[in-house]
């Protein structure tokens, strides 16, 4: 098994008075696809939102325990507590991409959707932006389908294309971790197959954590499974 990328230790999550997660201790391996499974309402999506601190935007939410991530490259410092007061949520979200259940392209052009995270990070040099956008779209196998219509609305794409566009958008910042919340649940079987293949390709350079209700999908592509609520 690959070395660990993410660790949670004695993790509790509360939404107002309701405890959603209790004492979760989990390890997620690097360059692998980890499936988060469990019955409905057990807190799978909530668990995923702890890795990019998206839970902080839920009013009344609170956590106890630790989420530790081992970043590589410039960020390498061993395991970091991502909830430490001096750890920037913005930096974290640029290193940990996320793809949601329903494709959610923003109401702007295909190009602008993918370049959006670069703009947020202050990367404005046209040549660099063009190169990074092209690379991200190619990595998601979408380039031949959109290269002639980059300035068209993203909403003209099919559901499966939109989801790959969202993956390209999440990948444009070259994240180390990609979180996927039931990424194929709203797609047809052909699109589902493309996304699964893409995920398998991506694990060479990225750690993927996926919530899924689909047991067959988990068996097909996941290298590691965390079952919540047992």
């Amino acid at each position: 098994m690959n070395c660990s990328k993410i660790k949670t230790s004695n993790l509790d999550f509360f939404y107002k008075d309701h405890q959603v997660l209790s004492q979760v201790n989990a390890t997620i391996p690097e360059n692998a696809i980890t499936g988060i499974v469990g019955h409905s309402g057990i807190g799978k999506s909530t668990f995923l939102s702890l890795f990019n601190r998206l839970w902080e935007n839920i009013p009344g939410a609170a956590i106890k325990g630790k989420v530790l991530i081992r970043f590589s490259g410039d960020r390498e410092q061993g395991f970091c507590d991502i909830n430490a007061p001096d750890f920037s949520a913005l930096e974290l979200r640029r290193a940990v991409g996320m793809v949601f259940q329903t494709p959610n392209p923003l109401p702007m052009s295909i190009f602008k959707n993918v370049s959006f995270p670069l703009k947020l990070a202050g990367i404005n040099r046209k040549k660099e932006v063009n190169e990074l956008v092209k690379r991200a779209i190619k990595a998601c196998g979408l380039w031949p389908e959109v290269k002639e219509r980059l300035d068209k609305r993203a909403s003209i794409l099919s559901g499966g294309q939109q989801q790959r566009l969202c993956m390209a958008r999440a990948l444009v910042m070259n994240p180390e971790i990609l979180l996927l919340d039931e990424p194929t649940s709203s797609l047809d079987p052909a699109s589902e197959e493309k996304i699964e293949q893409l995920m398998v390709d991506l694990k060479k350079k990225c750690t993927l954590v996926m919530v899924s209700h689909n047991q067959d999908q988990v068996k097909r592509i996941c290298d590691h499974v965390i079952e919540l609520g047992i």
């Binding site: 935007n57 913005l90 640029r94 949601f100 702007m108 947020l120 300035d151 999440a170």
Partner: protein, 293 residues
């Protein structure tokens, strides 16, 4: 609900739309019927040649051109003053206020929108009288006082429509920017506002319409029957609603009354032109912001 119930509800909804459209058609037809004969260049420019009037070489004394220019300037000034403040307050209400301030400020904005325009006019008049007495005698009821009073009148519409437009952005869009590393401010500027453009424009259009039609405010704060073209912000001005009110209350012949109806049609056209301009600006801005590399 049974089949008859469904049909009844459908019928009533269609009837609601038909009543509104019918009333609008009746209004426009009546105006056209009464004012069509007066609708010519002499209504607008009087005895002054059109080119001379348009290039401000000669004053127009017996046409509504100065009133048209006055109304247009008034609307542009009032909306220009109200839109930035209204947008900022709307963004504050939607994104930064807590439950308490949202409730209190929301109540106050609703209260403000319910204030009769004559009261706002009286307030503007009182303020300028106070300033005239205590600050400078040069401060008198004028174009700028009317514009600011009107801006005050339309602010609640812009605040509330902006607030509702931003608050109703779907959670999926709201969280997308945040998940991609946007700060709350970046999320508001790059995701929430562009997504709410069309709805925010609704508030601006409402404000334009209100500025164009309101007579009570401008009567007390700067509009006069005869002032010529609006050359200064600090002097009285002519305005179409005031002209229409003046003619309809003091006309001496049918031809003069027809001029009043003609002025109504012109006012409708000015409003339609401003609505179209606002929609085009919104469309262009949206295109540049969201689709141009």
């Amino acid at each position: 609900m049974n089949r008859w119930g469904e049909r009844a509800v459908y019928g009533l909804t269609v009837m609601g739309c038909a009543i509104i459209l019918g009333s609008f058609a009746a209004l426009v037809s009546y105006l056209m019927f009464k004012g069509f004969t007066a609708l010519n260049l002499s209504l607008i420019f009087g005895s002054t040649p059109m080119v001379d009037a348009l290039f401000l070489r000669r004053e127009v004394f017996d046409g509504i051109f100065p009133a048209m220019a006055g109304t247009f300037t008034l609307i542009v000034l009032a909306v220009t003053a109200a839109v930035p403040v209204g947008l900022l307050a709307g963004i504050y209400m939607a994104e930064y206020s807590n439950a308490f301030t949202k409730k209190v400020f929301g109540f106050l904005f609703d209260l403000l929108s319910a204030i009769p325009s004559i009261v706002v006019g009286l307030f503007g008049f009182s303020v300028i009288l106070f300033l005239h007495k205590h600050v400078s005698e040069a401060l008198v009821p004028s174009l700028i006082v009317s514009a600011l009073s009107l801006a005050f009148l339309v602010l609640p519409y812009i605040v509330r429509t902006t607030q509702i437009a931003i608050e109703t952005v779907p959670q999926s869009v709201r969280i997308t920017g945040i998940a991609l590393g946007a700060t709350p401010l970046q999320n508001t500027i790059h995701c929430l506002i562009p997504h709410s453009f069309t709805a925010i424009l609704g508030g601006v259009i409402l404000a334009v319409g209100r500025c164009a039609e309101d007579t009570a405010v401008i009567m007390l704060t700067g509009a006069v029957a005869s002032a010529g073209m609006p050359h200064s912000l600090f002097k009285g001005f002519e305005a179409l609603p005031f002209y229409i009110y003046y003619i309809s209350s003091q006309y001496s012949s049918e031809a003069e009354l027809a001029k009043g109806f003609g002025a109504c049609i012109v006012l409708l056209f000015i409003c339609a032109a401003l609505f179209t301009a606002a929609a085009l600006i919104q469309k262009k801005a949206r295109h540049i912001l969201l689709y141009t590399r």
